[in-house]
């Protein structure tokens, strides 16, 4: 008897689907972009957004005392008065932390999205999932205008998380409620140094 793999592939070939037309990509690849649009779109998701010029200064208003800081977070962000939790951290330690502070890989102005890729200042995925409060620092040059531009900047084989606002559900009468399993508060600091 043929294996399931061989049989399925044979069935597909037997279906004799004719070749398709070439794909016409007539949609926009670019957009207006910019810090202002990004901040506006993030705020639409009921996330907290601040456009700042100095990160350490902005961090003085951090909520909570025990904050996770992934590897690669700049020294100057680790301000005094906060207990910074560094890896290795257990699931329980992450669950009990007050929050997490990260950078990001890319952001998308058009959709108000931040993307984490586990790189510098972001850490493994559990770090930004278990604490109930996520503060993300986005540099102006990390903001792509559109979804196509953002995907082009990303390395697909890294573990990626696209975040658009705090965790939410619309499962009850389709009315949106912020805060289910992921962080219930998302705070985005957009660094604009002009």
């Amino acid at each position: 008897m043929a294996s399931a793999r061989e049989e399925i592939l044979a069935r597909i070939r037997n279906a004799k689907v004719p070749a398709a037309q070439p794909v016409v990509r007539g949609y926009h690849r670019e957009g207006p972009g910019g810090v202002e649009l990004f901040a506006e779109r993030v705020a639409d998701y009921r996330a907290v957004v601040h456009v700042v010029s100095n990160v350490p200064e902005a961090l003085t208003s951090l909520r909570g005392k025990r904050i996770v800081a992934p590897a690669g977070v700049p020294e100057e962000w680790l301000i005094e008065g906060v207990t910074w939790l560094r890896e290795p951290l257990s699931i329980e330690e992450l669950d009990q932390a007050d929050g997490v502070l990260t950078g990001c890989a890319v952001a998308i102005a058009d959709t108000g999205t931040i993307v984490l890729d586990g790189g510098e200042a972001q850490g493994r995925r559990a770090l930004t999932l278990l604490p109930d409060y996520h503060v993300c620092v986005v540099r102006a040059d990390q903001i792509a205008a559109s979804v196509p531009e953002a995907l082009q900047r990303l390395e697909p084989t890294r573990p990626l998380t696209f975040i658009s606002g705090p965790s939410a559900t619309s499962d009850i009468e389709l009315s949106r409620v912020e805060g289910v399993h992921g962080p219930r508060t998302l705070e985005v600091l957009v660094v604009d140094q002009q």
Binding site: G179, V180, H181
Partner: protein, 472 residues
């Protein structure tokens, strides 16, 4: 061969189920409210995009290309997933897929698994199969949890508990979780958070579906809102993803189209709160064992039909459900399948693959052919055309029936003017059955027609007779 669990065993045909559903005023109220809200929001999210039509066309073309090259793309996906430490399994049907997943759970000694909402696993009846094998699957999406705790069936692709209102959900949660909770959506969501938290932190095996799989990189993509997906995709040691073979896109770039089409069409958002992308196994981050189960379960049979195969372009957004006047009135359970609404009416009978099955054969008739579904479909599936195509197949499968005999008789009468006029004269007698210009019940075989619709009373004199008298 075992029956395909895409339809629920013992479901009545659509007209029968719809008749019962139409008497449920609570259901109709819940649905009218929910679909009305989402329709308006989707329209706003789409109007904002000046290139929406170009995105739809690109979405259609990319998916057509996938269907044309499905064999090579699947092999390419298998290679890229394997190269990154994943294991790929193939399943011809539901039974085979369920056995593979059950075997993998047993290998990990898991008697409990957490699940991300997935249409593919609902289609194959995975939860029931696991339960029978001693493995309890916990649904973690809020709406799926409501359905699971209520021992209910799903009624919508995106929001399976759309038929329940807040007070009904409160009642289910109080009864099954043993907690006091108000009927505020925020409180109900909080109750679910608390209920599932420990499960997420301790369960070793997770099962998910996939919205997309990228053939050239081996990346799997899951879109969600609550963070339950991230929990399942990140914390357990083993991840099993079950995916229909058509869920592919050829390249990473192609996602740029679907990540714009899907959120706006399904939840009417610019972007859904969370999208996770992973490729095989990443050392030190997330599950260290990854299995991808590719299922056929009627898809290759669907692929053979040159008209019907476009249903395989579906990205499960559910926009067609929300605009459908039939769905809004009958609800999703009347369709007797995890795939309700317009897309269900064309996908379900094709996956079943047997038009002699009266329930499946009744689904293509669950439509007024108004065309709203085609207009909103982000991958431009011409649902009305597939519906009429499948109706023709259903008629053919029925063979010689009262209807086909009547049609043959009509053809004979229409073929000759004198026969036609005689028939008209005889027919006009039926006006004595009319009340207020309508006939609501004809004697057999006419009763077959009037059981679901009225007939206007025929006039005393036909146009041809009048013409001959006055102008002839």
């Amino acid at each position: 061969m075992a029956r395909n669990p895409v339809t629920w065993l013992g479901s009545p045909t659509f007209p029968k189920a719809a008749k019962a559903a139409l008497n449920d005023t609570q259901l109709r109220q819940n649905l009218r409210k929910a679909t009305g809200t989402i329709r308006e929001r989707r329209a706003a999210a789409v109007t904002e995009m000046t290139d929406w039509e170009q995105l739809r066309v690109a979405g259609e073309q990319i998916k057509n290309d996938v269907l044309a090259r499905l064999d090579t793309l699947l092999v390419e996906l298998e290679e890229s997933v394997t190269a990154r430490g994943g294991v790929v399994h193939w399943a011809r049907d539901a039974e085979e897929a369920n056995l593979i997943v059950l075997g993998l759970c047993r290998e990990e000694n898991a008697n409990e698994v957490v699940k991300v909402k997935s249409m593919a696993t609902a289609e194959i009846g995975l939860n029931e199969a696991l339960e029978a094998g001693g493995v309890h699957a916990i649904e973690t999406d809020l709406a799926e949890l409501i359905v699971q705790l209520g021992n209910d069936r799903p009624s919508h692709i995106l929001v399976p508990a759309i038929h329940r209102n807040r007070s009904e959900i409160r009642e289910i949660f109080q009864r099954r979780m043993g907690v006091e909770v108000s009927d505020e959506p925020a409180d109900l969501a909080e109750a679910a958070r608390v209920y599932l938290r420990e499960k997420f932190l301790t369960t070793k095996v997770a099962i998910s579906g996939a919205n997309f799989a990228v053939a050239d990189t081996g990346s799997i993509v899951v879109l969600e809102s609550e963070g339950n997906g991230r929990m399942c995709l990140t914390l357990p040691e083993t991840l099993i993803t079950v995916m229909g073979i058509e869920k592919l896109v050829p390249t990473w770039q192609d996602l740029e189209v679907f990540l714009q089409l899907l959120p706006r069409s399904s939840t009417a958002e610019r972007m859904n709160p969370y999208t996770s992308v992973w490729t095989g196994v990443t050392p030190g981050d997330g599950p260290q064992k990854f299995h991808l189960v590719l299922i056929d379960n009627g898809r290759t049979a669907t692929l053979r039909d040159s008209v019907g195969r476009q249903a395989l372009r579906c990205i499960r957004c559910s926009a067609c459900l929300n605009v459908c006047p039939v769905y809004e009135r009958t609800g999703g359970q009347s369709y007797g399948s995890v795939y309700p609404g317009p897309i269900g009416a064309i996908l379900t009978p094709q996956l079943v693959g047997d038009m002699h099955d009266p329930q499946a054969a009744s689904l293509p008739y669950a439509s007024s052919l108004c065309g709203a579904c085609f207009e909103v479909c982000p991958v431009r599936i011409d649902i009305p055309s597939v519906l009429t195509h499948l109706r023709a197949e259903a008629v053919e499968a029925k063979g010689r029936t009262a209807e086909s005999v009547a049609m043959a008789a009509a053809a004979w009468i229409f073929a000759e003017a004198s026969r036609y006029e005689k028939a008209q004269k005889a027919g006009s007698l039926a006006r004595f059955l009319a009340k207020d210009g309508r006939i609501t019940s004809l004697p057999w075989p006419g009763s077959k027609w009037t059981s679901s619709r009225d007939v206007p009373a025929p006039p005393a004199e036909s146009f041809r007779a009048w013409w001959r008298k006055n102008r002839g």
